[in-house]
Structure formats: structure tokens, C-alpha cells
Symmetry: D2
Subunit: 316 residues, 4 copies
Amino acid sequence: MPAPLGDVAHLGHVELLTPDVEGSTWFFTEILGMTETRREGDSIHLRTFDDYEQTSLVLTAHTTTGVRRTALRASSEEALQRRVRAIEEAGGAGEWTDGLAGTGRTYLTHDPDGHEYALYYDTEWYVAPDDLRPGLKNQPQAKPRQGVGVRRLDHVNYLGADVEANAAWVEGLLGARPTEQIRLDSGRVAARWMTFTNKSYDIVYTEDWTGSSGRLHHIAFATDTREDILRAADLCLDNGVHIETGPHKHAIQQTFFLYVYEPGGNRIELCNPLTRLVLAPDWPLITWTEEERKRGQAWGLKTIDTFHTHGMPPVD
Amino acid sequence: MPAPLGDVAHLGHVELLTPDVEGSTWFFTEILGMTETRREGDSIHLRTFDDYEQTSLVLTAHTTTGVRRTALRASSEEALQRRVRAIEEAGGAGEWTDGLAGTGRTYLTHDPDGHEYALYYDTEWYVAPDDLRPGLKNQPQAKPRQGVGVRRLDHVNYLGADVEANAAWVEGLLGARPTEQIRLDSGRVAARWMTFTNKSYDIVYTEDWTGSSGRLHHIAFATDTREDILRAADLCLDNGVHIETGPHKHAIQQTFFLYVYEPGGNRIELCNPLTRLVLAPDWPLITWTEEERKRGQAWGLKTIDTFHTHGMPPVD
Amino acid sequence: MPAPLGDVAHLGHVELLTPDVEGSTWFFTEILGMTETRREGDSIHLRTFDDYEQTSLVLTAHTTTGVRRTALRASSEEALQRRVRAIEEAGGAGEWTDGLAGTGRTYLTHDPDGHEYALYYDTEWYVAPDDLRPGLKNQPQAKPRQGVGVRRLDHVNYLGADVEANAAWVEGLLGARPTEQIRLDSGRVAARWMTFTNKSYDIVYTEDWTGSSGRLHHIAFATDTREDILRAADLCLDNGVHIETGPHKHAIQQTFFLYVYEPGGNRIELCNPLTRLVLAPDWPLITWTEEERKRGQAWGLKTIDTFHTHGMPPVD
Amino acid sequence: MPAPLGDVAHLGHVELLTPDVEGSTWFFTEILGMTETRREGDSIHLRTFDDYEQTSLVLTAHTTTGVRRTALRASSEEALQRRVRAIEEAGGAGEWTDGLAGTGRTYLTHDPDGHEYALYYDTEWYVAPDDLRPGLKNQPQAKPRQGVGVRRLDHVNYLGADVEANAAWVEGLLGARPTEQIRLDSGRVAARWMTFTNKSYDIVYTEDWTGSSGRLHHIAFATDTREDILRAADLCLDNGVHIETGPHKHAIQQTFFLYVYEPGGNRIELCNPLTRLVLAPDWPLITWTEEERKRGQAWGLKTIDTFHTHGMPPVD
């Protein structure tokens, strides 16, 4: 029996590793318009302007790229306990910790691929300092004057050795609902998109072409408009940030996208779904075939080769 | 104890009354870009391009304006039964019917103000005819070539004699979550915004200045972009559709809006929330004071007088 | 001595040939949102909503694709006579005709490549019929409700056997000002962009890879916004119109673009320059090298192969 | 005989007076995204990102608000001499100066109302320092990462005691072409819009309700998109910049607008014309009546009272 939808409320934050912490910080603050809130050891905490929690992204200095941890907020303390019990009853292991990135008591565990997940309910609501006080009380902080001004951390796209095993874990134990997938002619699922919310996806697994485990394909931030993404492309062009592909529209999920490499080497997506939501409670999993994928993106752009060769961290 | 969030999945469709059914149909198809799917007796069925169900709006010829019925889809058959039991245990009455607007077995009941609600789970998924077949399989029909091309019915804003009584009914029996409200200096709640989803509102009650019951303030359709709303304003200007106020941005809920009167006389909002969602499971109800409301809309536009004098249907 | 800038006021209209006149008419009216004004013999007259003249595009049934004629409006009767004298003094030939597409007395001549140009001053101002009356008196007609709603015919990009010879003719005899060009390592100019106005280009010549003369690369229509172009891409996707490349941003001239093939087979560009203008009276001709061109478009999109193989009409 | 169109190429820069030079500088750099290039005495030089000249705006510390000078670039040295001769033959006076804001030899004179105009041809082209180097060679500098990123100084709207006398001077001696005007029932022209380019206006005179001379109604900067203006409204809201009116669309000239007061007290417009241009060489002056003006702006917004009471500098 799948886990009940609703125990996980939404994606909280991600801890991203970078060999160039200053370059990465410049990118996330000056290009994406995120706000730095604190530095602690090797880590810098950053937030998007509409995050009601403290932290959207922890940047940590490291020898290489990748994601250390994805944090998910449960919808209640009871929901958190239910998910932990489900994980442990399924033979999973985890440990409790405290105080990551403004969140309270947190359960750390791993998907079958070894990606670390952090589950928590307690969290500290953000209160803006005077110079970031918003004009409207239904917004946690002022929109940034610099950079794109991303609204939220939107999704994480993991590379995994076995997409279906990982998806089964996220769907079965965390209660995600699959919305779209790619099935190869061989029958293997090459990618699956899953959601905890009315957004059409929050977590994605993509098959790792190297067969490695625990790697990242990209993390994504949502902008308010497609125009923000076009402006972002100009800012990247003028500031020497490598644009990998886009702006264009995905056929899968219809997201308007731009992929860039931040100075540390992580692939970052800027994405905009317009006002598209998945509201149907019985939304059927949509399957794209190998043949359909060959047509490329929605308006005909061919999928770029590096999409299948650049993962974080790199492998030999 | 409030009803569990999640039993009602989303707003389904609305039946709107109009003394000028041809004029209204012209507006919804030629200006909003909706698709007519069938005519039946005095009613015309229309749909937005991203509605997975058959019908977003039923237009019915009538002596006057207003809403006859708001339909809400339950998240499962069990959820539907739970809501019906809750309503009846609370002393409410209702009756079962069938086959409204492509939906199956449906429970009809009323809020304290007398507005009719229809609750259902069974629904027929829309399959586009050849000439409206979409380019992407994750979309129910082609985007319309004419008009604005609204994505979905977004929300209903009811006038009610007693906002709190109506809100208590929707929150307590249907499981809506309140997100924002206006509280007058007298202590009375003058308006409350409630949601069943991650959208920041689906149903709103606004105090009826005439003390009448059962009336409508407006229904709203979501566009994909703010640019769509600016284009809509030009189409209204060139086609003689009365613009009441906007385009501008609401302080409450931050929605970008345009209010027009369709030829039948109903107030219709075009709205765009950008990518704003309410994801926090413990979102606190935000209260705006009379003083704060006097500042007008987000960028300073004063609230227009007719906002407090034009309700549907008119009263003497 | 170059001709004085200012004798040619702007691009008037283009006559486009199509083997599928009904398909082409559907595209220009239903997708681009142009207005049909009259049918005459094998020709259909169409206009963009902000054209103050009668006709922006004449579509003519033919065995193949291509442009029959590009019409330029002179800034006065005297300016027209000056241009005709200059052409004839330079050994050019031409003949006077009358009444093409709402224009008066017109001089027909040819560039060195054999493309026909029509020069005129007299023109009939458009007066909209009742059902197309605009809401504002500074606009010739209502914005169309259907399709993209292109504002104007923006530019013509001709293929030519010898770019420099053609450019010399347009600059020297018609008074165009060159703004940008591509110069190959061999020293040959592969393309040149020229303008009669503050727009950064009105006429372009691109080297014909087949060595043929008199062919067309594309004609372009300006939209009001980049969002219009993104909407156009969706309309093309849903309506089976072939998208060749884009939406993306040109490095040269910075135009936001989308290239499609209309059903007759002509390449049509939708373009948007934002608010970019060339205001400097001494704007220096900007030259792009072969090396620079290899980087692709502004945000990295590679130039598509068919850009160098699909010309109108096709050659064996 | 009116002066030939074309002797004045375009609006160069404006010198704006402010009693709060630090506040004003913050606004123009942090909110509008202009670049400071030099400080000299009481003046700070600022530029928009697409200005090919050195300076778009000189901010000068002063006891009050207003414009000290509007600079216009001639299209050639000969054109400059022609304009100076015309002015002096008409009995006007002026003097030559040098080196204002990166421009060379400059003729200073006054309109009948006493507003100072500077005419020049020689100008120093801007070369961006390394950290502002643009990604594309057809753009003078990188787009700013902070603020709106205005493309150019768009127009100056002067208050004048006698609109027609001032307009006659600008049209007759500088060669501007009138495109639109307001004529009161009394027969008096209350405002006139004039252009030197294909933009629909560069200089405007509005009747000063106080009967004073030499004052300013506003200066305007063009953004690339309407979305930029909506983002600007949010930045103003969050940063405490007073929004006077808008965003909305003017009926006259159809410009999408936002009016704010910069911290020094000058009214600043952000404007976007979409891709609208006046290309007709014989564009007829369009006259709006008092009755038509009462309808308000294009989409119905009423003209705000302060539009008729806030001029720079204030008068007692």
C-alpha cells in the first residue's frame, strides 16, 4: 500500500557541495538573487525571497560537486513519526539529529541509491531584518534588487542507478505521487517525476548512464515569470556563466527552463511552470516512449549531449 | 475539530446565470478563449484548455445574474462520503443527483448563506476531438487560438450576509484552510480567503453590504502569465467589454488582476498569482486591518467604489 | 556618395508566393492573427493590426514559394523622384505602375540579384470597418482576438548571389544604412543588415549557398512582446505548424526570434527586439567573424542546418 | 517653414537637480539599475545600459528639484550648425561651451519657457570597463544585475506656461514632428508630444497649471518589457519608493507606464511602448479632446490629482 499523500508537505532545503564556494555564492546571490543569511564553518546559508523557513540552500565547501542532503518538511509531527515508522518497518535505517538549517528535530535516512534525505517538522519561521522587510505582510522578505529573484527551491533531480527502486522508495515510504515518466523500449524506466504537492513534480530520478549511485542531475529554482528566465539568460551571458541549454520548454511537465553551470560546476535549472498545477486526485502516470523522447523538447530543441554526460560529482 | 484537509481535491465547475446568454457566450469564447462543448436546454457548457474534466463553466439563461452552483471534486469516493456524513451530522441537508456537467453521482447542499454546493468524485475525463488535439500528451486540449486562453477556473468569491458563519461551514465541513482575511475595527470579519489546495485560495466570502444572502461577488479564471492579462485588457478595450478595475496587483494574496463585466452583467476576474503557492502545512491566517485596507491595492490603486455596490444578482 | 538617409521611410508590404494559398491564409490569419482585407484574382491581401496602410502582405497562388516583390514607401513625392533618378543615373531600369495593394503610383525596379522592389509615396490610409474599430484613435484597427496579433511586417531577408553587390545597391541608391554584417575568413561578406529607420534593420542580404539569384531566406513580423512569441510557439505546436528553430535570441541584432514554415513552405520569422533601437547617427557597422558565428546564437543555441539549406523557392 | 526632420538625431542626456543626491543616486542605481560613471563637484554621472554615449543622466545637488538642461545630439556637425543658425536667425540667443557629460562642443540655448537645451554633435563613445564588459559586441555594456535595468533615457515632459509657443519653437527650430496633442474646449493646447525619431515621442510640453515657466513634469526611462515595469513596482513597494500611479497604459501614445517619486522628489516615469513606432512620414497630428481625456487612461484608470499639482520644482 502506498504511503498516504500528504505526510510530506514540501521540499525544504538542499545542501549543495562546491569546490568553489566563493564563486558559487556569487552566482546564487548576484545572478539568482538569493539572500545570504549565515556562514557557519564551511557552509553558507542562502534563501529565496518567498521561503517562509530560514534556509533554502546550504552551500558547503567540498572537494567536488553534488548534493549532500535533501530536506523534506512533514505536514505535522504525527506525519513525521508515521514516515519514520514506515521507513524502519521497511528495514530502513536512520538517525535523529538537530538544528540543521533552522529546522528542529530531524530524521536522516537514505534512498536505495544512497542519497541522504532529512525529514523534519519543526522549523523556525523566517523574520526579515529591517533592510529586507517586505512591503506586504504575506511575504517573508523583500524581493531582492539584484539578480533574478528566484521564488523558491523547486525540485531536485537525482541521478540513480535504478530509477524504479528509488521511485518505489519515495512513493512507497514518503508518499510521493508519480506524475510522468520515460520508459525505454527495453522496458526500463529512465526517469520518473514525483510530487508531494499540487506542483507537478518535486523530486525526479533519472537513470545514471555511468551506473553510479548517489549522484545529482540538477537542482532547480522557480522564477515568477518566463521573462525572469530570459533576463537570467542575459545576465549569464554578460557575466560569463555557462549556459548549457535553453531557454526552451520541456515536453515533459511543460516547464519553461534554462540550465546553467554555477561556477562550482553544479548544474542549476531555472524553471517556470506558468500556472500549471496537478489538481486531479487521480492523475494518471503519463509515460513517454523512447520514440517520443527523440522529438526533443516541446518546441523542437534537441536534448543536449551533456545532459547525458555531466553529472555531479563527475565520475572517471 | 476541523475537517481533514484533503477530502476536497479542488474546485470543479461553476454554473453562472446570465440574462444575455449569447453575449456571455461570445465573451467567454472570443475574449477568454474558452471552448464550447455542448448546448443543452438553456445551458451552454464551456471549458478552459487545461481542465481535465468535461466542463469548467455552465452558462445558463436566466432573468438575472449570479451563480447557481459551485461544484467541488472530492479526492476519493470515501472522502466524498466523509464530507456528506459530516454535513448531515452537523444538521445539514442535501440530495443526490447525477450527471451534471460530465460529473457522476453528486451531493447537492447549501452553505448557511444559501449558495448551492455540489460535491462529487466520479467525473468523466475530457478527450479532445481531432481539431482540438494538443501537441503534448500531458495537456487535455490544444490551447485556443482565439482570446486569452484561460488555463482554469481559479476561484469563486461569494457575497454572504455573515462571512464567519459561511467560512466556518466551508472550513469545518469541507476542510478548507483559511489563508487570509480582513477584520474590521468592529471585530467583524469582512472577507476570508480559503483553500483546498496549494493555491492560496479557492473560495472567498465577502460581506454583502446589502445584508442579502446567496449572492456572488465574482468568479475568476487563471491565466498563464500577467502578459495574458495585459492582452486581455486590450481585447476588452477594443471589443467594448467594460473594464471595472485593473490590471493591478492585490495586496491580499498578491494576485495580479483584471475585473471586467461580461455582457450578461457578471463580474469576472482574470487572475495570475505568478508561481506563488502556500506550501506551509501550518500557514498562519493573515489578518488585514481596516487601516491597512485603506492603503488600497499593492501598488497603490484605490479600491473602486463599484466593488462595494455591484453584486450579482442586483438587489433593490 | 551614399544616398541620403531618409528618402525611403520604411518597408511597406511584401508579395509572397505560395503553392498552398488556403493553408498559407489559415496560417497568417489564425496563427499570426492577420486580417484579410480582400481577394483579387490569385491574390489575398492581409494586414497586421498596426499597419496604417491597406496591406502588409499579399499572398499569391503560385507553383512554388518565394517573394515576388518588396514595396518601400518613400518619405515624400520628391524623395521618390530622387531615388528613381538615382537608380536610372546608375544605369538601372524600371517602370511605373499603379494601384498595387492600396498604394498609388509605383516604380518597379530590381536589385542586382533580380529581386523586385516597388517604390511609392502615394498610399491609401486604412480605415477599419465597424467590427474592427479600435478602442483608441491612435491605432488603425482593433487588435485581433485570434492568433498572435503581429504588429507589423518587420523585415525581409533575401538570399543573394553576391551580398556586397546587393547591399551596395540598397545603400547607395535607396539610402539604407548598414548596421551589422558577417565577414568570412575569406573576406567575403556573408550577410549584411541594413536599415531605413531607427529599427536596427529592415532589409537583410544573406549569401545564397547555391549561388542562385533572386531567392528569399525569410520574411519577419514583429510581435509586441517576447511572450507573444512563446505563445506563438505553443500555437504552432498544437496546430502542427513546423517550428524550425527557436524561440531564442540572436547574437546579431539581439532579436528574440522564432522561425517556422508556413503551410506553403515559406520560412517566416516572428521577431521581437524589445525596445532596442539604433539612434546614433554615426552607428559604426559591426562585423562578426566566422569564429564568432560558430558560437551560435546569443544564449548558445547552435544555428540549425536547414538555415543553410532551405531557401525559397527550392533549387535542384 | 518647419525645420527639416533629421537634424536632431535623438535625446542625449538630462541634468536633473535633487536636494537629496545620495537618495537619488540610490534610486537610480539600485532601483533603476543605472551605472554610476563619475562624480565631479556636485554632480554624479549615470548611464543606462544601452547608451552608446558616456552619460544618460547627470544628477546635481541643488536646493530643489527640476531639470537644469536637456541635451540633444545633432545628426552631424552640419546639422548642428544649421540648427544654431536657425535659432539665431529667429532671434534666439545661445552660447558655446564644451565638455558637458562626455560631449564635445555644445550650444546652449533656451526654449520660450526658459528650459535650457544643449545641442551638440561631438560625443565620446562609451567603452565599458572589464567588469561591465557585455557578452555581445553590439551592446555598450553588460546589463546590470541590480534593479530594473533601464535601456535608455526615453523622453522629457516639460511643464510650460504656453504649450503652443514652446512646441512651435521645438518643431520650427529643432525639427521635431508633433504626433499627438490635447486640445481643451477653450481651444488651448494643453499638451503636445513631439518626436525627432521613429519613437512616437521624445519631448512633451504640458501646460503648467500654475502659469509658471521652466518647470518639469517628469523624465522617463524605457524598459525592455512591461514585465520590467511590474518588477519595478514591486521593488518600489518593498523599498519604500512612492508610487504615484500605474502600472497602466496611456491612451495617448499607448505607453505602458509607472510613475514614482525618486527620493529627491522628482517624478520619474518608467515606460514601455512595446514595439510601437511611428513610421509614416506623413503621420497626422492626433488631437484628443477634453471629453476624451475624461475617460482616463486606456484601460480606465482615472488620471491622478497629483498629476496636476506636483511639478518640479514646487511653486508656492
